[in-house]
Subunit: 352 residues, 2 copies
Amino acid sequence: MQSSKKPSPPLPHMFERYRSEIAKTLRTSISDLQLKEIPNLLKYHLGWVDQEGNMSQTASSQGKALRPTLCMFACDALNGDISGAVLGAAALELIHNFSLIHDDIQDQDIERRHQSTVWSIWGVPKALVAGDAMQAVGDLTALMTIESGVPVNVVLKVSEILTESYLEMIEGQCLDLQFETRTDISAEDYLGMVGRKTGALLRSSVHIGALIATDNTDITDAFSEFGSHIGRAFQIRDDYLGIWGDASETGKSNDNDIRRRKKSFPVVYGFEHASGSAKEELISIYNKEIDNDDDVAKVMTILEDVGAPQYSGHITEKSAELALSSISAIDLPHWVDQEIGDLINFLVNRQY
Amino acid sequence: MQSSKKPSPPLPHMFERYRSEIAKTLRTSISDLQLKEIPNLLKYHLGWVDQEGNMSQTASSQGKALRPTLCMFACDALNGDISGAVLGAAALELIHNFSLIHDDIQDQDIERRHQSTVWSIWGVPKALVAGDAMQAVGDLTALMTIESGVPVNVVLKVSEILTESYLEMIEGQCLDLQFETRTDISAEDYLGMVGRKTGALLRSSVHIGALIATDNTDITDAFSEFGSHIGRAFQIRDDYLGIWGDASETGKSNDNDIRRRKKSFPVVYGFEHASGSAKEELISIYNKEIDNDDDVAKVMTILEDVGAPQYSGHITEKSAELALSSISAIDLPHWVDQEIGDLINFLVNRQY
């Protein structure tokens, strides 16, 4: 695929701008946990320490912190007080990471962000508890926004949005589990599922940041919609990279999504649009264990033949356009418009 | 043991009085979940439906609903509006049951309340997600107290107490996991662990009910302390019944706690007080798989020889006394005093 050869656009400046503030708040939240062992599991998962609890030397296993960055940026863009937003931002990152720890158990994934997953090192019971702890700390951190002067009714709204969105996230995970045994999922079914599983928390990230800045619901609703569209753009690009991305950049095992018979967007599109012997082959490969590179290559060829990578790119770009148009009526400062452009360019064209 | 032969005191009237109101609220909370399958797992776990989703004919697999009943009673006792308390009560029951679903995964328990556990039927991934969903619905239900007229600052306080107490609960689970591989746990260590694992949510149940009724912190603090003590009384009685109780009444497999080498209070006490060959035997049995009735009988004899059942009874009664004295300065109506007496008699002497 041509597009996978292009260099990745740089990580937009906003990620750097809020990084240390977000990290500081996350560290404070987690260090409030009193138990010896579990905080280390959380810090390991977040890429701060290695398995033995020693400070990690590389930043490669740390995530992009997309959700907290979006929350901070939304608040900042609307001239809000980012010292209130940072607690909401940290809560979002904790909830996101709680879901990853549980997701890895659910999917029996042994690698994430270039390192072994928590359950694969410490076992299911401890990983389960670590996820629950991460989630509870996330909830508490959201409630703590009250201490930074956010009005009580806004704090309550933030908590409600956060809880509703991770309920949506869980619903998405359930649908995902149901999809595993089906070969008749439409692209539309898939978008509905992933909109819950990944989209809800991304939408909430932008929504919560906006809510901390303003009580104008026209604006907060528009930002929420913006978040929803960039969430889809992000996820479909992720699915694309899960097949055609460079594993050394994405941090996932090579060909992981096909080898694990993951029904990501390009695969679902392939099932919907392949016909004849290609479709039969696709079904037959997906009905057994995929244990050789030949099968992976065959699936990739079928997907490429029906134009799955192009269609994935089309949906990503379409979502980016919808994101832009959902906030086009809001008068934002020049720097904000510019950074939104950078953000969207990154989400649509990133290689990792 | 003599005391296990006595008939159980009746379930206090308060359980019956609030039952239908609590059940109605729980049903509403869960029916708001939109997914087809997961709500059935939750309803099954709660004993409302069987594995196929058909209405359950027996109530035997339903829990006592201790936590929501305590919440309603605390509010009622202080002349509060129980229509506000019932949402808090439902939230507590949901959080408690979330922890049971995850606990059963963690401990690989195959039976609870006379029926197979969720993970043993539907597998770990779905049980994990079902637990997460139960927890999120619990959080949302707590926030919904705002709609029954509870002031916003009280709603926030309720959410905070709930989240903090399930964080404590999780910390207790972690300690419990750590204890599994140790034979040097003191009775005091154990009480600290179980005070978190079980006590925190029981304490919060009483505390939340009181908070919805009054803003007098002398009273709410006293109720919280009362909850803490009856929580301990409840747990130590539970541990006693886990060894000397009648399995047909408790709903657990016969001799489950010893056979599973569970380090419950009497066992920890036994490790602390047995000496010489008895202690060596205890350690040797606990260091292998216990797969025959002989080993179980041997452990029971050692525990009985050091007086573990009597000491467990002593701690249960002592906790009950402390519970009573923590609210003795509060002037409560006669019916409340009477029902507190019934409650404590039940918790201390129950056979199930």
